[in-house]
């Protein structure tokens, strides 16, 4: 039997970006909050030995322990779903700060087109342009309505970017709070090449501080050292914006936040209309607790937000045959296969230096910034050069046709160790009726709860997009004058084994119509007014960008909604 604890106003499951932002906003307003984090606590003191490629990048030190919980995967409903036994395609964050501790810091805003994707697509191309089975839907909010919340997130995190407005992205009310990252030689080469081809490159907006910065909450942090250990690593300088060095200490300083680590929320207690609290397991003792609360906030990663709802039997589960129900709907990912690699015989670059959000990008082929009339895909992607630090275990590119081991491999991989430039693409991924999340009927986690099951594959849309973006990347790279180059524009079936991206989205999507969305613009559940489900789980599709900026904006909007709800109650829309 679960031990019943005294009731609190607000309980949050998950202390990453969403949970941290909401905790900060509520506690500043005087609300008492309990934050349940299933992983361990963290501070920058943990990163004394962080410059260790093997431990962090290869052995995934900061990630969820899959022996306790993973997901299962199948390409379609005819295939048997099998557990992801070891890491590959994406990396699940764990512990205080969640994915916000191991991210790179590339911080974009989704495009105005994204938020009204269905209406704008029909408006420009007609309804027939949307292929059969693609469940495109508007987000129920516009870019202009969300703009002030992007601004708020960027000021809190100290985002660094070009001070002039880029013509390819949504209009900004304020410039970035900090000037852009420093420009490296390969960024300059890319910028020149892209400009020569008539595109509009800009410096990747970065959550790696470019100067000492004091944010509106009074948090002061040091500048990025370009140490090249960012993605998959924690930042020992606190220069990378991370909930642990920004919003969580703000919330803790108010005296109104109690963080309980090693506390794994397994379900929400509810009567079908409202929640009365959550049940969680202390993962150290196995003891079960019931935490009653007036408001329940799910702010875990995409998969766990969906899993907790399904295991709690809260909200109507998605039925892929009928296309009805909402929990598990519109799972989407990221299309990253298109790229161009250049090898330079007589040039060496300091690519072993870097930062997580160091690079240059252009969006001329992202969103609907270009005419799709004669193209057989929708949306697009960013095309970029990033210098995140070429670490030696993972960076051994050799030209096609080179043997992958032995004498030839050794000398060729060493020859090009500092002489490779990759122009990569990050394509949007649009939802389909048959891409969804539900509970696995066979496999369970360490606490006996069913694992979440992903049913997903790449579609022709993704293959056409990959080919198109790869060609464009190749054209830019060619201008950058490599001695040899190769373009990869092929996309096979979705493969869960090689790392691709930790940008998983959907499953508890937002909107204005409760028959196709689970939450409203404030991330408030249609089926339970005192439950808020926050994070990339509310994306109706995934754009050609890293998702954190948009997650941050939606979290600030949700926090505002929760404060209103605590005063008035009822549906916020």
């Amino acid at each position: 039997m679960a031990t019943k604890l005294p009731k609190v106003p607000v309980v949050i499951a998950g202390m990453g970006w969403s949970g941290g932002i909401i905790a900060a906003e509520l506690t500043k307003a005087g609300i008492k909050v309990v934050g349940l984090e299933r992983g361990k606590g963290r501070s920058t003191a943990d990163y004394y030995m962080a410059h260790d490629e093997l431990r962090y990048a290869q052995r995934n030190e900061m990630m969820q322990d899959l022996s306790k919980e993973t997901i299962t995967f199948r390409h379609n409903t005819k295939e048997r779903s099998l557990p992801m036994r070891t890491y590959g395609s994406f990396l699940l964050g764990d512990g205080l700060g969640g994915s916000g501790s191991h991210w790179n810091g590339q911080t974009y805003r989704f495009l105005p087109y994204d938020f009204e994707i269905k209406s704008k697509t029909i408006e420009r191309y007609g309804a027939k342009k949307i292929p059969e089975g693609m469940t495109l839907q508007d987000w129920g909010i516009t870019y202009d309505e969300l703009e002030p919340y992007f601004d708020k997130f960027e000021k809190m995190a100290g985002i660094a970017g070009d001070q002039e407005q880029n013509p390819m992205v949504g209009k900004r009310s304020n410039p970035f709070p900090l000037p852009p990252m420093k420009k490296t030689p390969i960024m300059k080469m890319f910028e020149e090449a892209a400009k020569k081809l008539g595109y509009h490159p800009y410096t990747i907006p970065s959550a790696n501080l470019t100067d000492i910065y004091k944010n509106p909450d009074g948090i002061e942090r040091a500048a990025c050292q370009y140490c090249a250990f960012c993605e998959r690593f924690g930042c020992e300088y606190g220069a990378k914006a991370d909930p642990v060095v920004t919003v969580i200490p703000v919330a803790q300083n108010t005296g109104n936040l109690e963080v309980r680590t090693y506390s794994n929320v397994t379900r929400i207690i509810h009567d079908g209309k409202k929640a009365s609290g959550v049940v969680y397991v202390n993962t150290l003792t196995g003891e079960e607790f019931e935490q009653p609360a007036d408001v329940v906030i799910l702010a875990s990663y995409v998969f766990n937000n969906v899993r907790i709802l399904l295991n709690s039997k809260l909200g109507k589960p998605y039925d892929p045959v009928a296309g009805t129900g909402v929990i598990g709907r519109n799972y989407a990912y990221q299309v990253q296969a298109g790229k161009a690699i250049g090898f330079y015989d007589d040039k060496e670059f300091n690519t072993f230096m870097g930062a997580g959000a160091l690079g240059t990008i252009f969006d001329d082929f992202n969103g609907d910034n270009f005419d799709h009339s004669d193209l057989n895909f929708l949306h697009g992607g960013g095309i970029r050069v990033a210098q995140t630090g070429a670490r030696p275990i993972a960076s051994n590119s050799v030209p096609k046709g080179t043997k992958s081991w032995g004498k030839e491999f050794k000398s060729t991989s060493i020859k090009y160790a500092n002489s490779v430039i990759t122009v990569s693409t990050q394509g949007a991924n649009l939802p389909y009726k048959h891409h969804f999340l539900d509970l696995d009927p066979v496999y369970k986690d360490a606490y006996g709860m069913p694992l979440l099951r992903i049913t997903y594959d790449f579609e022709d849309q993704d293959r056409e997009l990959t080919k198109f973006l790869a060609e464009k990347a190749g054209e830019v790279l060619k201008e950058m004058g490599p001695s040899k180059m190769q373009v990869s524009g092929e996309l096979g079936p979705y493969d869960i084994t090689p790392y691709q991206s930790t940008h998983n989205t959907g499953g508890v999507v937002m909107g204005t119509d409760p028959s196709i969305s689970a939450v409203n613009r404030y991330s408030q559940m249609w089926d339970a007014e005192n439950v808020f489900v926050v994070g990339a789980s509310s994306f109706t599709h995934n754009s050609g960008y890293n998702p954190t900026g948009t997650v941050g904006a939606l979290s600030y909007l949700a926090a505002e909604g929760i404060l209103k709800y605590l005063q008035k109650g009822g549906s916020l829309v």
Binding site: T86, Y237, P249
Partner: protein, 251 residues
């Protein structure tokens, strides 16, 4: 010593470093942990140089997992994957077989953080590894396979074969057609052998390979420096004396 830059905590005293990179807010200190390692770097470098001259015993060079034959087979196999050449030492001299031994004895070797609950079914390749075997078991089976195949084909153990024969055997294992293993495949084993070899060549020397950072030196990789803020914009290539995690200790 690096030049002074008021914004970047590169060569200041520990106190200044903490002031610049960490901060105090309401009694909370965030950042600045590695500060201590910045002081006395010059002294440390001198001490390291002296140690090399003294040739201390390397107590790390012993076996946690392999028996002698497994160790010799591994040494021969990794040397074939990453051989000695004009660039510098091969995997054998770099200590890669010790590295692999230590890894197979580690939690990683027994898949401690992987989902190993049944039932086990064979899936499509794109659904990932679905074997109940642990990595240490797969590697052991693979090593045994190298010897069995070598005996069949050349009437010798793998470690006794010539360089050309090593290549022939590993090519057969990589292709995965000619020879079968029980519970795993030669292809799976080869993939593990190749990635473990690269890890052993390039992981921090603390793990037993990359002897004296020679793996890094061959490709002009400077290991783990504190940062490159003042060099990141430079056009010319920078060759920097590498540092290992050991350099961060003891301050």
């Amino acid at each position: 010593m690096p030049e002074k830059d008021s914004k970047q905590p590169v060569d200041n005293s520990r106190r200044n470093f903490l002031k610049n990179s960490g901060f105090a807010l309401g009694g909370l200190i965030v950042g600045g942990v590695i500060g201590g390692s910045l002081t006395g770097q010059k002294e440390a470098t001198t001490k390291e140089a002296e140690k090399v001259v003294e040739k201390p015993v390397d107590y790390n060079k012993a076996l946690m997992f392999f028996n002698q034959e497994q160790f010799q087979t591994t040494e021969a196999a990794v040397e074939c994957i990453f051989p000695q050449d004009e660039h510098g030492p091969g995997a054998k001299e770099l200590g890669v077989a010790y590295y692999i031994d230590h890894q197979l004895a580690s939690p990683w070797g027994i898949n401690a953080k992987d989902y190993m609950q049944g039932p086990f079914y064979k899936g499509s390749a794109t659904q990932g590894m679905q074997s109940p075997l642990r990595r240490a078991e797969i590697f052991t089976i693979g090593l045994q396979g190298l010897n069995t195949y070598s005996q069949q084909k050349y009437n010798k153990k793998f470690a006794e074969l010539s360089e050309a024969e090593h290549e022939e055997v590993l090519t057969v294992f990589e292709e995965g057609k000619e020879f079968q293993l029980t519970g795993t495949t030669t292809k799976e084993f080869f993939k593990m052998l190749r990635s473990l070899t690269l890890e052993g060549v390039y992981a921090d020397p603390m793990y037993g390979g990359n002897k004296d950072m020679q793996g890094w030196k061959m490709r002009k990789y400077p290991g783990n420096q504190m940062g490159y803020a003042k060099d990141i914009e430079k056009e010319e290539f920078m060759t920097i004396e590498p540092k290992s995690l050991h350099d961060h200790m003891g301050h």
